[in-house]
């Protein structure tokens, strides 16, 4: 039978379990669809928001004029500066992080000319001022207006202690026009990093009007690698609705002469006027503040695309920070669980980064103004159309959804509302869903695969055990050793069933073989009674009729009866022998002696038969019942004589093979037919007969086999390689006085 090559059950089950991988794939597909759905939902929501805000602002042109004395229709002129709305109050500590993304909107200023004053005729003597660069930003939050100066300056000169002049060091000049219209000049100067001193100055910036430091304003200076930063805070009440302002950075580079090197104005250069500060309309801000959402930025722009108000921030909340690597604590179990969880998350994160777009923690959407984005939708909104769009953030890290709605006043467009939101939220939601699904699925998959592996291993183990038990239940000669398989006999499932039915089968088979083995005995027993009748009748007949007693027919009848009797004995011999051997006592003797004695004795009773004995080693002590060994020799010699060619000798060869003594009985003559060398030891298997008078039931070699296996030995038959005879090899384990060394 050809067996198809195949996978093991375990592999098959694992392959089936791989189907579970469909679940995460399906989730992936689902989540992808969900993403587009969520995005469109988000878009709708944004559009609604923008419309809602626009609705509030419809027909209220005052929002676009309040607080700012500028004509709505007038474009931004040179001497106006725009203060950016800041997300929060600024701590004056030199740390620029609280400026948020607005810090990036800072504009750079360079010195246009160096001062040409009589005090400094040798310009060449002082270091080149090309290095000076000032990044400046004006912003506001709540009641304060803030100014930021990032100064790149190779030589930072502080005010010398005890040096009263306030223009002999790097300083900042601020000119404010107070509500009354009077200009006030302030100098910001520091003798060391930290809080700066602020002095109200005279019109020439030469001397402080009062020696007192000013406390309304506050400024902080901090050193950087490149130069220094200054943060300035001005209370809003110091600025009227028509606030004018001018700020100048004064740079001193020569630590010896302390000459003023250059002045860089960060406000538009205008001789006759100070700059006007544009801040967003508070009314609009108030309205928008009510609509403020943490993840949404709302702009209101006027017709000139100038932002009138901005609330909210587009940066979504910080992405869930990665877990810290757990530290060993008291409970090892907890620690182990934490560690596993930690690495599990890391691995998952790696996996996810390949599957989905991760939301960007903080992408930079630093539109300095609406027009810089140059977005069509603003144009469209100002043209009176509702529109929405998606665009990448300026650093291409994320997608920004935008929706714009025009604000009408009658038929005229006052401005537009723009609402922006990053898709980060959707992405994050998508990711968390996907992460959940995948991690759960992965966990389930691992568990299921593990369980299947375990289950399959157990199953195969059980099947293998059952197979081995089944294999071992019947020995090489087909005899049943075990009728009951212990493997899985008690389990209630199919394997248990199989085990039990195999046991059942073996039981029935062994009953059958028992019946078969008992058959000769039963047969002999049944035949012996009628045979006895014939026998006794013949006797009585000869007694009753003396004339018959001499008849040759009576002789032949008696002879026939005797032959039947002999057959019966033969049949029962094996069965009787098995019983008898159980009670036989074994003794240790030299096998070589026994064979020599045997051959001597046999030669005496059968002088015609020639023997040849070859002894390779002696003594060969075995522990056995000598009678039975002699019986084995009887049978083997009988058999050899039966098949020996006339006139040839029977050869005995006795040798030691490892731990066995082996007797070879060799005869020349006909050889065994193919396939007979094993079968010949089975009961009732005979190779035919030479003498018609001599019965050959084929029990003799079976008896040899019985005796051999009873003594732990074996017997095999094979043809001589010269193909002119047969060799029977009978082996017995050698006697070992110390079985522990075996």
């Amino acid at each position: 039978m050809k067996i198809r090559p195949n996978f093991s059950i375990r592999t098959k089950l694992l392959l089936v379990a791989l189907l579970l991988l469909v679940i995460p794939y399906m989730s992936y597909i689902y989540v992808r669809d969900m993403k587009s759905f969520l995005l469109s939902g988000q878009e709708d929501a944004l559009s609604l928001t923008s419309r809602a805000i626009a609705t509030v602002l419809h027909d209220r042109p005052e929002f676009f004029t309040d607080n700012v004395d500028i004509d709505i229709n007038r474009p931004l002129v040179d001497n106006e500066i725009y203060a950016y709305p800041l997300p929060n109050y600024i701590n004056l500590n030199g740390d620029l992080s609280d400026w948020g993304e607005q810090a990036k909107q800072a504009k750079s200023y360079f010195p246009k000319t160096t001062l040409d004053t009589p005090e400094s005729p040798t310009l060449s003597a002082i270091p080149d001022d090309q290095d000076l660069e000032i990044k400046h930003l004006l912003g506001y939050h709540g009641r304060f207006i803030y100014a930021l100066f990032e100064v790149r300056d190779r030589f930072v000169i502080f005010r010398q202690t005890g040096f009263l002049r306030v223009n002999a060091a790097d300083h900042i000049r601020v000119t404010l026009q107070d509500p009354a219209g009077q200009e006030k000049r302030y100098t910001l100067i520091a003798s060391e990093p930290g809080r700066m001193s602020i002095y109200l100055m005279d019109s020439d910036w030469q001397y402080p009007i009062t020696g007192e430091a000013n406390n309304d304003l506050a400024a902080e200076l901090s050193l950087t690698d490149q130069g220094y930063n200054v943060e300035l805070r001005i209370p809003r009440f110091r600025l009227s609705s028509d606030t004018r302002i001018q700020m100048t950075v004064a740079n001193v580079d020569d630590p010896v002469s302390l000459k003023l090197n250059s002045l860089v104005s960060t406000t538009p250069e205008s001789d006759e006027d100070l700059s006007r500060v544009l801040v967003q309309a508070p009314e609009i801000s108030k309205i928008l503040a009510g609509l403020k959402r943490s993840d949404t930025r709302m702009w209101v722009i006027d017709k000139q695309k100038r932002p009138r108000a901005v609330v909210g921030n587009i940066i979504t909340e910080a992405y869930v920070s990665p877990r810290d690597k757990p530290k060993p604590n008291d409970s090892y179990l907890d620690y182990a669980v934490d560690i596993v969880g930690y690495y599990y998350n890391i691995v998952l994160g790696k996996v996810f980064s390949y599957i989905v777009d991760r939301p960007v923690d903080a992408f930079n959407d630093y539109a300095s103004s609406a027009e810089e984005r140059n977005d069509q939708i603003i144009e469209q909104a100002l043209a009176g159309k509702v529109s929405s769009d998606r665009r990448p953030s300026l650093d291409n890290q994320a997608m920004i959804l935008m929706s714009a709605h025009p604000i009408f006043s009658g038929d005229e467009t006052l401005g537009a509302v723009i609402v922006e939101q990053s898709t980060n939220q959707v992405l994050q939601r998508q990711q968390s869903v996907l992460e959940n699904v995948i991690s759960v699925t992965l966990l389930v998959l691992l568990t299921v695969v593990g369980a299947i592996l375990l289950f399959a291993s157990r199953l195969t183990l059980r099947i293998r055990r059952l197979r081995n038990a089944t294999d071992n239940a019947i020995d090489r000669d087909g005899r049943i050793i075990n009728q009951r398989l212990s493997a899985d006999a008690k389990s209630g499932d199919e394997i248990g069933d199989l085990s039990r039915s195999v046991s059942d089968m073996l039981g029935r088979l062994s009953q059958y073989t028992k019946y078969l083995r008992g058959l000769p005995d039963t047969l002999a027993h049944e035949v012996s009674n009628p045979l006895n009748v014939v026998n006794s009748s013949l006797h009585n007949l000869s007694q009753e009729h003396p004339a018959v007693a001499d008849s040759k027919y009576l002789d032949r009848a008696t002879n026939g009866v005797n032959r039947i009797g002999a057959i019966l004995r033969n049949l029962t011999e094996a069965a009787n022998l098995e019983q008898a051997m159980q009670s036989e006592t074994r003794e240790v003797f030299d096998l070589v002696d026994l064979i020599e004695n045997y051959v001597d004795g046999y030669s005496i009773s059968n002088p015609d038969q020639k023997f040849e004995v070859i002894i390779h080693s002696r003594p060969l002590n075995v522990e056995a019942a000598p009678d039975y060994i002699a019986q084995v020799l009887d049978k083997l010699v009988d058999n050899a004589i039966d098949f020996a060619a006339p006139g040839t000798a029977i050869v005995f060869k006795v040798q030691r093979l490892d731990k066995f003594a082996q007797i070879d009985v060799i005869n020349r003559g006909s050889i065994l037919p193919e396939g007979m060398s094993e079968r010949i030891f089975e009961p009732l298997v005979s190779l035919g007969r030479k003498d018609a008078q001599k019965s050959r039931l084929g029990m003799g070699l079976y008896v040899v086999k019985l005796i051999a296996s009873f003594h732990g030995g074996d017997v095999v038959a094979r043809n001589l390689s010269s193909a002119d005879g047969v060799i029977f090899s009978f082996s017995l384990p050698l006697y070992n006085p110390d079985p522990m060394n075996f």
Binding site: H525, N529, N532, V533, N535, N540, N576, Y598, D634
Partner: protein, 235 residues
């Protein structure tokens, strides 16, 4: 007065053949076909010798049971098992029940008469009493004493409990010490129809065991492998 022999055998043909043959030999024969009849019959009329089959009609071990019952009636009654059952276990069971002999079918009828004669001789000799010492019938070889009359054998002065067959085998070997008794000789001596080497081996084994019960060092019966056995004297 003719001796009475009871035959218990469920097979009519065999039973009648035995009866005829034994009548011819001059015995008075009573035949029974089952255990109950036999027990009742023999209780009424105790025979001098009983021949029992083991399987009686439906009873697998009817003969053994009957033997036990008869032993209870008469401890000295000679009992012979004559059966087709030829296993060692049966043989041992039979002899353990104090049967005098255990024969297997098919049986040579002439041998049966001889056997019965011998048994009666033993009975007679026992009846005369062991006090009577008849030297002419006693064979002494070293520690072995064979009393031909009572068919008893002593080893080192102690009597062995032997069956008739065993007695004949020992006697035949001891009569010619040092001479090999071949299997063929011994088969004749057992006076049974079909005996094989294994049966002889079995007899010798049992005989040796009986000697060894008296003398654990007993080694006088020597196996001549492939041929037979011989009685060794001395060392």
């Amino acid at each position: 007065m003719a001796r009475k022999v009871a035959i218990v055998e469920d097979d009519f043909d065999q039973r009648e053949n035995y009866a005829d043959a034994l009548s011819q030999s001059g015995y008075e024969v009573a035949t029974y076909s089952n255990r109950q009849d036999a027990l009742i019959g023999m209780q009424k009329d105790m025979p001098d010798l009983a021949i029992l089959d083991i399987m009686l009609e439906h009873e697998m071990d009817g003969g053994f049971d009957l033997c036990r019952d008869l032993r209870a009636l008469s401890p000295t009654l000679p009992i012979i098992f004559l059966t087709a059952r030829d296993t060692d276990i049966d043989r041992v069971s039979g002899l353990r029940l104090d049967a005098w002999d255990y024969l297997t079918k098919p049986l040579n009828m002439q041998f049966l008469s001889v056997r019965i004669n011998s048994l009666f001789r033993i009975v007679d000799s026992l009846a005369k009493g062991s006090s009577v010492e008849n030297d002419s019938d006693v064979l002494v070889i070293d520690a072995l004493t064979i009393d031909e009359d009572s068919m008893s054998i002593k080893w080192q002065g102690q009597e062995l409990s032997l069956t008739l067959t065993e007695f004949w085998l020992i006697e035949s070997m001891a009569r010619h010490p040092g001479h090999v008794k071949t299997y063929e000789n011994m088969m004749q001596i057992t006076r049974q129809s079909y005996v094989e080497r294994n049966t002889i081996n079995g007899y010798i084994r049992r005989i040796r065991n009986k000697f060894k019960e008296i003398d654990p060092e007993f080694k006088n019966i020597q196996t001549v492998f492939g041929v037979g056995y011989k009685w060794n004297t001395g060392e």
